[in-house]
């Protein structure tokens, strides 16, 4: 039960699409893929992470996203999350992090206004 990670260049920067469960077993892979994005040099305005395929996320997933946000801030990029499922949204709310992240209904919305 691994997570599937797709990384894509988009107009505003990078799009990471996650599918599966992001837990202690799979979040190191997610972390690695996001680290690759930051190695691709400057020019990107945003990192968009599409979570529509993520049914389950635990604190290791949250930690990965918090770290991604910190790295985005260092590089003057925005981190935008898109299409959280109700159960993932619940985890963000439990962690009181819903207001820290920019969350969009759809990945396409997350690419607008940059």
């Amino acid at each position: 039960m691994k997570v599937e990670i797709t990384v894509q260049k988009i107009g505003v920067g990078h799009l990471v699409v996650l599918k599966g469960d992001v837990d202690m077993n799979s979040s190191p892979d997610v972390r690695g893929s996001i680290a690759e994005v930051f190695k691709q040099g400057p020019g990107a305005k945003a990192l968009v992470i599409d979570l529509s395929g993520v049914r389950y996320m635990d604190s290791s997933g949250i930690a990965t996203l918090v770290e991604a946000m910190q790295n985005c801030m260092k590089q003057g990029m925005k981190l935008r999350l898109a299409e959280l499922s109700p159960s993932v949204r619940d985890v963000f709310e439990l962690a009181r992090l819903s207001s820290i992240f920019e969350i969009f209904p759809k990945a396409s919305d997350a690419q607008a206004g940059l």
Binding site: M1, D21, D23, M24, N25, Y56, D58, S59, S60, I62, A63, T64, V66, E67, P86, S87, D90, V91, L94, A95, R96, L97, I100
Partner: protein, 152 residues
């Protein structure tokens, strides 16, 4: 992992609990979640609450792997689910480094950093959380939640 002998012991006369033992490798967290979720639903909890309870147990297991076993992936984690009348009772047993209850403090959520959320989730989701380090080896963590009232 290579195959080993099975040791299955006789149990006493009435089996009233569900017991699951897995190696302390993160790939078995999914197995624990998969077994636990239907038990919680069956007990009458709503899906969203069930998902949160599964999350909390998953966090407790992650903590066992990281803190009690220091990342060793071949040590036992045993989940036991009991079904008293009004509560849903989960026990997690490890045989690693004992948890220091004074260290297990959920972090201040205002401090946005990776980590420190696990114990916060556990305490937010369950009504009653107890780390018992008086057991012979390791820690016995008990998490309990009152079942929702059913209107029939």
């Amino acid at each position: 992992m290579s195959g080993g002998g099975v040791t299955i012991e006789n149990t006493d006369s009435r089996q009233e609990t569900v017991t699951l033992t897995v190696p302390s490798h993160p790939r078995f967290l999914y197995v624990i979640r998969s077994a636990l979720y239907p038990l919680i639903i069956d007990a009458g909890f709503r899906k969203r609450d069930a998902a949160k309870m599964v999350l909390a147990v998953d966090e407790a297991c992650s903590n066992i792997i990281r803190h009690a076993y220091g990342g060793q992936d071949d040590q036992p984690i045993t989940l036991t689910v009991e079904f008293p009348e009004d509560r849903f009772l989960i026990r997690l047993r490890d045989y690693g480094k004992k948890a220091d209850p004074s260290e297990i403090a959920p972090r201040d959520l205002a401090d946005v950093r990776p980590g420190g959320l696990g114990t916060f989730f556990i305490k937010a989701v369950f009504d009653d959380v107890q780390y018992d380090t008086s057991v012979d080896r390791g820690t016995l963590l008990t998490m309990a939640k009152t079942k929702p009232q059913v209107s029939q």
